[in-house]
Structures are given as structure tokens and as C-alpha cells.
């Protein structure tokens, strides 16, 4: 009761309608955990913890693995394995899989003509993709367009990494006074051009800066 009055008297404490986040953060993750035979095991509770565990620990890597190149990542639930879905929810995952795996023959030509107007770096990509799409396409139902985007992402990520490393090196040398005025200008301009070019490519493929990264699992992210 006493607590009640303090609560109402204070503006911050007034809220008291918990967000789901606050509940999840506490009820599922903390509190006394009893173990042993006295407990009844309810299989689904383990699933709650499993799901939460996945959410808490490795959202990114699971997401990346499950929706490689998938356009609408948000709509899918990456950490639901087929076994789990079939067993507990009875929702046929197969249907979803068939949906995003339908080969659309026109796509390949489309994307090719679209990107052939691109600069050399971009043009090199669809060609590689064609090969991969041909090999993997029928077997694993990978949408060629997604593969192309995935590859672009990978290449751009690496180029970006190199750019950053070289830029750092250049800046260090400028600061050490090892370069004369013209050299600084030339190097700066080169990087500026590369930067502009990368922006164009990113725009063409609808990639955002945040996407240009590699999840290296336990090592963290590349960039």
C-alpha cells in the first residue's frame, strides 16, 4: 500500500503499463529458475526460451543464413526451422518456399539489360551470376535476381573494406608529410571517384550502407 502512494506520487513511475519488451527482458530471461523432477516439462516453454535465446544472441547471423538474398526479410521468420513449424504450428513451410523459389525466366534478361548500362565493375557481376544461376537455379530454387544482389553486396563489401584500408594508409602518409601537394590531390581525387562510383552501384542494386557488411559469426562483423 505504501508503495502504491509513492508510485502515484511520482511521474516516472506513473506509467506501469509494461511494454512487451520489458516483460520479455525480465520474465523470460531472469527470475529464479527451478530445476529437477518436481517440475512438469512443457515442451513449448523450452521453445519460448529457444526463440528468445536466438533473438538475444544471434539475430543477425541466423537472419543472414535463413534469408540469404531474400528481399522481404522482414516477412519471414528466419529462426523458425521447418521441423519446428511442421511439428508445432502445422503451418506448411513448403508453400512459402515454393513461393519465393518460383523461377521467373524473364528476370535474368531483365536484370542483365538493366545492369549492362552500368560501369565496368557492375557489368562484370551479372555474368558471374548467370553462371551460378544456371548451376544452382533448378536444384535449390535460388532466385537469380537475389543471387545477383547477394554477389554485388559481397563484392561491394570487399571493395569498401579495401577502400577504407587504403584511405587510412593515405591519410597516415599525408600526415607524415610523405606526399607532395599534387600527390595528395591525385590520391584524394581517386578515392573521391571510387566513392561516387560505389554510390551509383549501391543505388542501382538498392543496397544500403548498413548492408555492406559480413557477419563473421563469433568474430563479429567485418566492418
Amino acid at each position: 500500500m505504501k508503495q502504491q502512494t509513492i508510485k502515484t506520487s511520482d511521474e516516472i513511475a506513473r506509467k506501469r503499463n509494461f511494454t512487451l519488451l520489458e516483460l520479455l527482458d525480465r520474465l523470460l530471461d531472469k527470475g529464479v529458475m527451478v530445476k529437477g523432477e518436481i517440475l512438469l516439462s512443457v515442451a513449448d516453454i523450452d521453445l519460448v526460451y529457444l526463440n528468445l535465446g536466438l533473438l538475444l544472441s544471434s539475430v543477425k547471423s541466423i537472419e543472414a543464413a535463413a534469408s540469404r538474398g531474400d528481399d522481404d526479410e522482414a516477412k519471414r521468420s528466419p529462426w523458425q526451422t521447418p521441423t519446428y513449424e511442421e511439428e508445432f504450428l502445422g503451418e506448411p513451410q513448403l508453400e512459402a518456399r515454393r513461393k519465393d523459389g518460383v523461377p521467373i525466366p524473364l528476370l535474368k534478361e531483365d536484370s542483365q539489360s538493366e545492369s549492362s548500362q552500368e560501369e565496368p565493375l557492375a557489368r562484370a557481376l551479372p555474368a558471374t551470376d548467370e553462371g551460378l544461376g544456371h548451376i544452382f537455379g533448378p536444384k535449390t530454387n535460388i532466385d537469380p535476381k537475389n543471387v545477383e544482389k547477394g554477389l554485388t553486396k559481397l563484392v561491394l563489401t570487399l571493395v569498401d573494406l579495401l577502400r577504407k584500408l587504403m584511405e587510412k594508409q593515405a591519410i597516415r602518409r599525408v600526415e607524415a608529410g610523405q606526399l607532395n601537394f599534387e600527390e595528395v590531390e591525385k590520391i584524394g581525387n581517386t578515392f573521391l571517384l571510387l566513392d561516387e562510383r560505389m554510390e551509383q552501384i549501391k543505388e542501382t542494386f538498392g543496397l544500403k550502407d548498413e548492408e555492406l557488411n559480413l557477419d563473421l559469426g563469433p568474430l563479429g562483423e567485418l566492418l
Partner: protein
Amino acid sequence: MGSSYGLYAYGLVGKNPEPLDIVGIDKKNKVYSVEGKDGCVMVSEIDIDTFQDQVKKLVSDLAGSVDTVQREAEEILQAHENVLDTLMKSTTVVPFQFGTILKDEQAALTMLQDYGEKFKSLLAKFIGRSEWGMKVYANQQEFIHYMVQIEPEFKHLEEKREGLSKGAAYLLRRKIEEELKDKALTRLAEVTEVIFHTLGKDAYEGKVNTTLPQKLTGKKKEMILNTVYLVEREKVATFCKQGKRLMEHYGAMGLDLEVSGPWPPYSFTC
């Protein structure tokens, strides 16, 4: 009920509370206490099958998209919390993790015996105290933007850049960006440290929990600090006032601070 019968356990209290009128997690059966030598387990009868269905729903919602979790599924978590909340108003509670289901009253007694010492020390620690949380969110870009405006050294660099030719200016910009990012990260780390300690002054105990991924929080800003405190009843008001002060101070820097409580001391049970 047969095999489907179980006892949902909410938490532990020291003394047998007054006759209670709290509806359990199934919204049907009343909460009652199973009394042992040193404490009581608060339980209510549940139908396991029904509960299982509700949990399934929660799982599928959790696994789906967190921001669109149905109210309905959330209710089951809220129900667990509500029972403890009501108990907390009149007595000290040691909260259990969600989904603790005992076989029967005998099992509850066995548990009281097995965990007797642990429960006793937790009860002693929790008397007259409750848990309060503070979560801090920040957007790095926004914070950098803020820093540039208040730090004269960066303004100076920016002016210097304007006088340079294109290529050299590009390199200098990169250098500034790099430095800003480093500085912002260091500054944010300092800020979280300060926030944690400032609030901790009015608390009995403080803890830093792991920050939650954006996917789970559903916020635009990234969580940079997730702390919990065990606060004495008498100090709650000062604690909250301090929280509010921090909110205003760091809010001006583009940081979002969220205080929540009072909670049963979930985070201090180990």
C-alpha cells in the same frame, strides 16, 4: 483434468499472505500458497494443454515479428507479472521465471526444501526493495551531429577543409569522419558509465544487463545501456527524480532514457 493438471508457480513469499483474491494465469483458478517451513510458494492450478496452446501462440508471435506481437499472446506474460505485482504490494516476493510448472503440492514442498537456503537469503535481500530498470538508446549519427556542434576542434577542422582543393578535402573529410566516430563511441561509453553510477547512488545494488538487439527492441535507436537496480522503498522517490534529471540532461544530446518499475526483483535472483 487428469494428466493435464499442473501447478503454475509464480514466486516465493516469506509468510503466508492474507487470504488472497488473485486470479491466476489462466484467468480462472485462484492463486493460493503452499506453505513450507521457511516460506510459501505461490501457485495456481492450470490446465497444461490450455497453457501449452497459449505458449505456442506466444512462440509463434515471438518468432514472427516482434513489433506486431498480438496483445493476446502478450497477455500470458502480463498475467504472470500481474500476480507478482499484486503480491508485491503487500509482501516481499522472490519471482520465478515464466513457465515454472510444478507437478503437485508435494513437488512445491520438495522445492521449498531443496532451495530453502537460497530462498531465505533472497528474501532477506529483497525485503523492502524493488527492481527498477533504466534503458538508454542512442543513434550514433545523431550523436556525432551533436558533438560536431559543441566541439570547437571539429568546427575548426571543417573550416580548414573548405579552403582545400577537391582531392585533399576528400581525404581530410574521411579523416574527420573517422575521428568523429571514434570520439563518439568513446563519449557514449563514458556517458553510459556516468548514467549507471549516477543512478546507482540511490540504489542498494546495481547491475548492467546485456543490451538487447534492435530487432527485439523495435526502436529506431540502438540500445547502449540496459541496467537494473535494487532500490529501497524509501529511496524510490529520489531514484526516480534522479532518473528524470538524467533523462532531461541526456535527452538534449539525442539520447532516449527509459525508466521502468517497480518490478519484482527478477534480475537479482542469482
